[in-house]
Structure formats: C-alpha cells, structure tokens
Symmetry: C2
Subunit: 201 residues, 2 copies
Amino acid sequence: MEKPALTNLDINPLLKKRWSPRSFTSQKVENDVLARIFEAARWAPSSSNIQPWRFIVGRKGDKTWDMILESLVDFNQKWAKLAPVLVLSVGNKISSKTNKPNKIFQYDVGQSVAYITFQVMQEGLFIHQMGGLNTEKAAKLFQVPEDYQVLTAMAIGHKGEPELLEGDFVKMEKSDRDRLTAAELVFEEAFGNSADFSAIR
Amino acid sequence: MEKPALTNLDINPLLKKRWSPRSFTSQKVENDVLARIFEAARWAPSSSNIQPWRFIVGRKGDKTWDMILESLVDFNQKWAKLAPVLVLSVGNKISSKTNKPNKIFQYDVGQSVAYITFQVMQEGLFIHQMGGLNTEKAAKLFQVPEDYQVLTAMAIGHKGEPELLEGDFVKMEKSDRDRLTAAELVFEEAFGNSADFSAIR
C-alpha cells in the first residue's frame, strides 16, 4: 500500500512518498543502513552548531529495543512491537557553548529527526514517530542525565501490509491523509494574510 | 565553492551537499519554486497531525522582506541582506486538537523547516537558518497572535561566492565544517554507551 502526499506540485519524490505507517515486516535493518541513517542526522544544522540531538537505538531482540517498547504508551506498544528498530530521541537542554539553557534545542532535535527520516526513505524504509511515551520512565531506564530530555520515540523498518496489524489499526492504516492548505500556513505582510504564491497548486 | 558533509558513508546526495552559506547571488526565486518549497513543509509529520508550523515569507523589494531583515540581530543583517528570500518560522504553542499547550511544537516546527531545506536543495538553492533575531519585535511587526511564537528566521536563495560578503564573513564562509562523532550521539543500553554500528564510517 502506498499513501503519497496528495499534491500536484513536483516536490522531491522521497518527500512525496513519505508517510507514517504502523505496519512493519519482520525484515531486519542491517547495521550499515543504520550507520547511514544516523550519519544523516549528524549533518543536520543547529543553532551555533551545538548539535543537541542524541539517539538511543534498539534492534528487535536486544535489551534496548525491549526497554524502548516498554516506555511507549499501550496504544503505541500494540503496533510498534512489529518494528525491527525502535529509537528514542533525546535533547540537550543546556547549550554546550554557553552552559545556559538552549531555547531552541527541541527545534534542532526535530530537524535532525527529519534528516533521519529522509535517509530512511532513501534506504527504502519507513519511519513512524511517536509522542506517546512515558519520557520519565525512559529517562530512568536509560540513565539519561538531568541536562537532557527524552523527546520522542520512533519505529523504523520495511513497510508491511495493513493486515499485519490488529483491530482498528487496519482501518487507521488505510485512512486518508490530510493537511492544512498552504494558504493557511504561509503568510506575507501580516500573520494570517496568505502569501500570493500559496494559491499555486 | 562547495562544502559537502565530510563523510565516506553513502548518504542521500542532497543531504551530503547541504550546508548553510551566508553568500547569496541577487538572482530571484520564482513563485512556483516557493510554492514547491512550502508544499514540502506542508507534508511534514507532526504530533496528532496538529501541524503547528506557520511561515511568513518576504521577497527582496517587498515590505515583508524589509520587516524580517529589520528583526534580525545586526550580525545577521550584515549578510542576510544579500538573500532574495527571508522567512520567519512561527509555532502554535497550543494544540489545535486539545486546546492545551503542545509540549512538542518546537520539535515539529523544526522538522517542517527541514522539509523546506530538502526541497530548497532539490531546487538547486541553499538555506541558512538563524536563531539570532528579536522575536518580540518580529511578533509585533507581523501581528503574531499570543498563542503563537516566532522561532527562527531563514535566508533562501542561489549560493554566491564568498567574496560577495563583507569582512570576516569571507573567512567564516570558507571555514571547515565539524560535527560530533556518531559514537558521541548514538547509544544503546544506556545513555552515553556508543551503539556498535556507530563505528562504521
């Protein structure tokens, strides 16, 4: 099953193809693929090049994977258990340049996860991010220092057919994608005033 | 001048080519290109599909461009004045689904800016993001509502030669790029414990 972005505009094919499935096959992700995926994250830009992103990576069958799964809310555990790779994103709250709070660290971590996403798609894999996890539990399980904050979890693997999922997840997997219009997002002159080019579709 | 990511790993060519120049030529960015760039942002993923990202886009010669430039710190004004397109990213602090604070909105906005970045590179352009701006001033100039927060600015355009820049910026433009190692970023079992595959280079 494919669920490309519903657009007639000629955006990069990997961006067009990307969506967040919940169904993954049991096929493993090789270590050289993982190395390239996190290499992409490494070269993301960040404020003052602070690079506040850290990742904890579990492969199905290892202790890390078990602990990440255990940190997810029940809803996410039910489908994420299919994924061969589970990852936690962690952000450094303190600037390594100034030793003061870094106000923009979450923005920069999100950005590096998008670089992961892009390389995941380049490898022919898919990724599904989750905000639904017990971040305190994850921080405790992985001994995350005080200066760092667990932000999200993500499932990575080869996309499976919807029927690998249980119950309502099959229907959710097949549901349509939707987004706000460009006119609702892109402004000029004043907030809320649609930019002229947002009418191009 | 090119400044590709210093890696032997075979990452996506656009990610490898990307860096953040300060020098831009005077060549305009056409409206259909802008439409594709912000279309890419539109299809980024977000927590509960809230899409907390908003953008204010100025083209050199228009009022919006002038107001964004005016919002930048002096250091950034000195080079960003070359860029044909200046953009502000703005995030919705409140979840449009629950009407409660969205703890992850900055992460999601950062992610959508990475989608902008990929499409910018796809178009043969470059982008340089800035945290150095007076966000209160920008919020006032563009009448940004209370529930929203101005986060970053970005310059977009055709990359220029370093010599278009003034003074120390020429040297900065030519300086080497550096990053933490994968072993410092990617962990397993416990925070700080390098994942085995992080040794693959």
